[in-house]
Amino acid sequence: MYLTEKIAYYPGCTAKSYAKYMDSTSRDVMKEFGIDLVELTRWTCCGTFYGLADDNLYSQLAPIRNMIRTREDGFTDLVTTCSMCYNTLKRANLLFKTDEEKAERLNAFMYEEKNYEEDVNVWHLLEIIRDKVDIEKITRKVVNPLKGLKVAPYYGCTLVRPEEISIDSNPEKPTILTDLIFALGAEPVEDPYMTECCGSYLTVKDKHLVADRTNKIIGSMTRRGAEIIMVSCPLCQFNLDRRQKQARELNPSLPEIPVVYFTQLMALALGMDYDKLGFKEHHVDPTIVLKKRKLLGTPEKVPIKVKK
């Protein structure tokens, strides 16, 4: 039995609506490993993208405020599941810790709150899984191994670039998702497109460009035999899942492939009720391939070897 550890949790805006099952499965999965994700009592949008302009500090204010909120709640570690939030929070935090002059100017904006003392560390949930939970322990907790399921990991950009904040020591060929796929009992299908951008915010005005990238990324992954794509970012999920409709207008022979969050697959492998994983909300329904691989069932019905 693990001791319960509490870590401050930053859901991010989209985790409250479009990606609500990313949020719920993150909490449920971590509970299995004795980690309680405690949502910050007050939090604001991180700004989605780290502001790159040197002369403009306004986009760093929101992330730094969230660091102060973390301290107000008595925590020094802050974890998030959304890749874009992770990137924005972590880079803003890094800027604050390395640029004294900017840090001072940012603190001058904190009228209502105490100054930020550079004492918060930002984590992605995958890092917690690797460094605090240990991927080996996951294997031991798996009651419904995803046997035979060919899973393509997809990192996108914000988990691995720039190098300073990359969750993996090799940003050009990260392995953390592959390790997780092995731990869940599935077969990883690595692909050169796994760190290629999905088109991100271009999805608002230039849908056709995103559809083209979705076509390339999914086309390459399905040619290698992938049956399902695993992501950690709600925007990657949207672009790869919903934009398949537009991608199929460009290329009618593009096969359908479901796109799920890594926490959803973890929850499934840990034996949680698949009705609660939100698969019905996806544009391409993951239950078809999961049924084919005989991976769906209530925890009681899954033929499981319980390891104690």
Binding site: G12, C13, T14, S17, Y18, A19, C45, G47, T48, F49, G51, L52, A53, D54, D55, N56, S59, C82, M84, C157, R161, P162, E163, P171, E172, E196, C197, G199, S200, Y201, L202, T203, V204, K205, D206, L209, R213, P234, L235, F238, R242
Partner: protein
Amino acid sequence: MELAGNDIKICYQCGECSGGCPESAVMDLLPNQVMHKIQLGDETVLKANTFWICSSCLVCSARCPKGIDIAKVMESLRELSLRSKKRYVELAELSKEDLEELPQIALISSFKKQTS
């Protein structure tokens, strides 16, 4: 052209940025051509669609052998345009269906990068 805080002069036109860029096929000017125009002080660079099509995926910056943060240069071109009230996305032109379908993360990031 000083916004990026980068030494643009050190670019030696190897083209690694354009090679890695996933969207270079639809850009008026390739990222390395943008760099060259900036070196020459050619302000027509602001008329190209390159920096609006850039989705800040940072592949160019990660792979530049001279260590130039090219994504930051693109951001500064966007900022220059936005500060002179030239925007790429017009909120009023977005359809109701799109607004209902798109998640916040898409809308907020697009507004942050492409509207003033």
